[in-house]
Symmetry: C2
Subunit: 346 residues, 2 copies
């Protein structure tokens, strides 16, 4: 079968692999589509941990149950696989259904670090890591994983504000990548006003989509993060989806009192002079918070599916306009479109 793997020279390569045999508890999944995001590009760039040559790429997948293999799933059922697996033996995080809370050395991540991903015609997946998806959402199914990342980050951000009456007047997304853009319609349902900050021109399709999703676009070349509060308004939530290291501190200056910044991106090395007193004081005297979040658990995938189902078609469709055949995987990985995916056709 076809599979796209990381070759020894660090480039992606389409290879022929034997179709996997599902073991006990595993279903055989025919992969339909696999989305591509910044993490895949980081894996190719060697930014992520233990890159293994010949690892199958891809972690945003949707597929169809080909062989239930006694798992209780139905043949033909549409499913989305979660990303983390135990590193050999089960550990406490997997036992309690919170693999997303495992420290990095107590998990592997399919297609990212330590385990084969999903960019192959067939994958064998333990049924506990398969989330059923309504068939009507199958074409959009590769969007569930990135939305699950937002579901978890929002859960942590909201929990941190739970002890008091948190205003949901304004939310700001940092970044116009696919994760930030996918998050805009979710936030537009939950906040009175949503802003999106990026460094693209106003006629860029990503900016047009942000506006279609209900956001006010802020060009960071005119209004940097630290000036958003004054130029527009202070934000109750900042959602950091770029991994630009200074955002960890700058996000706080964009927050209203009692606001929270959710950090999701993984930064490249960056050192800078910081007004630490200002950062500290704004956190304390404004009851502000910063929460980091990585990966997502089963319940976050379920919430992501609800969100995907509720997303306006005018917005949702923009994320599935660039689905490449598997043979064009290189073009898909290099693409600068709003969201690229590959389609496998066994």
């Amino acid at each position: 079968m076809d599979a796209v793997v990381l070759s020894e020279d660090g480039s992606p390569r389409l290879v022929d692999r034997p179709r996997p045999e599902p073991g006990p508890g595993e279903a055989l999944i025919r992969v339909d589509r696999v989305g591509i995001d910044g993490t895949d590009r980081e894996v190719l760039d060697g930014v992520h941990g233990g890159v293994e040559a010949s690892m199958v790429l891809g972690h945003e997948a949707v597929g169809t149950v080909a062989e239930p293999n006694g798992t209780g799933l139905d043949a033909g059922e549409t499913v989305v696989p979660t990303v983390r697996r135990p590193p050999g033996a089960y550990n406490e995080y997997f036992r309690r259904g919170e693999p997303d809370m495992a420290p990095m050395d107590e998990t592997v991540e399919c297609g990212i670090d330590g385990a084969d991903g999903f960019m192959a015609e067939y994958v064998a997946v333990p049924s506990e890591y398969l989330v059923p998806l309504p068939e009507r959402l199958a074409p959009y199914g590769f969007l569930v994983e990135p939305l699950s990342i937002t579901a978890k980050a929002l859960e942590l951000a909201e929990a941190s504000r739970e002890p008091f009456a948190w205003d949901r007047d304004r939310a700001l997304v940092l970044g116009t990548g696919s994760l930030g853009l996918l998050t805009l319609p979710v936030l537009a349902e939950r906040f009175d006003e949503v802003y999106c900050l990026g460094r693209r021109d106003r006629d860029d399709p990503a900016v047009e989509l942000a506006i279609e999703a209900g956001a006010t676009y802020v060009d960071s070349r005119e209004t940097p993060v630290a000036e958003v509060s004054e130029a527009y308004a202070p934000m109750d939530l900042v959602y950091e989806a770029t991994g630009h290291a200074p955002h960890a501190v700058q996000s706080v200056s964009a927050l209203a009192p009692n606001g929270v910044a959710a950090l999701l991106g993984v930064p490249e090395p960056h050192t800078a002079e910081v007004d630490l007193a200002d950062f500290h004081r704004e956190l304390v005297l404004g009851n502000r918070a910063v929460v980091g979040s990585v990966n997502a658990g089963y319940t976050h995938f379920e919430r992501a599916i609800e969100w995907l189902d509720a997303m306006p078609e005018s917005v949702r469709s923009a994320f599935v306009e660039h689905v490449y055949p598997i043979e064009a995987f290189e073009a898909a990985l290099d693409s600068d479109v709003i969201k690229a995916a590959v389609e496998l056709d066994p």
Copy 2:
């Protein structure tokens, strides 16, 4: 009556003031004891906002109802006043019983910023800002306000970890001031191990009290915050009670995965070179969080009273060993003991 006010030259002064007349809804309180902490010293140093000459000092008080004035309180009842008051008109934060969540420009703080404090023989206080205290705790009552600060900070920290199974293996208090020391027995009840970091010698009474409260003492001159994780163990909670600005970032490096740092101190100006990528990455990949917290609401005072009641007498008594008569207010304000207070004797 006696009152200690901030004089125009910024020094504290004992003056004679007319006894206040309680207005509608206010009870007249005979003040028994007023604790002194770092915030009082900051007020004298002019660090805190709108310092008003002739403002009565003191915000950690315990008193006795002298005239209920139709409020429903009983004459002779022991009470602790909360600190924040509306800045003129009521606003949404006071209406919903969350004055501690008011932005700094939507509140005044008795004895700190914009309103008279409690270092006077009598004060008139709206009954909604008076928290009843069991009479047996009256000698310790000035500890309720600082403990309420911890009650709120812990509530925010715990809420931020509520969506998952948070380990409570280890907590670290930064600072050996009275707030940090008071917090140690509270954390010792909730975590398997408690650490206290400071820059005092091991035979210092504060360090001896930390150990009596169940903590392992870490001398920051030997082991700075950033090395605690490696030298001892990573912490599930860091409680920052010094206001040393670099701690906002350094606390995160002391955290275990899924840990949270609670910041409470108000820092002096400080700028430094920071590895922002490291800070950002540890927050994201370790699901870590930072929560700032200021002031406390009525329910936090109630929780503080429960904690005070449950605190071992061997620890609690160390905080009431240095109670000065009001005439010795200057010695009390200058004192370097574990905890100083003044006693008013009408």
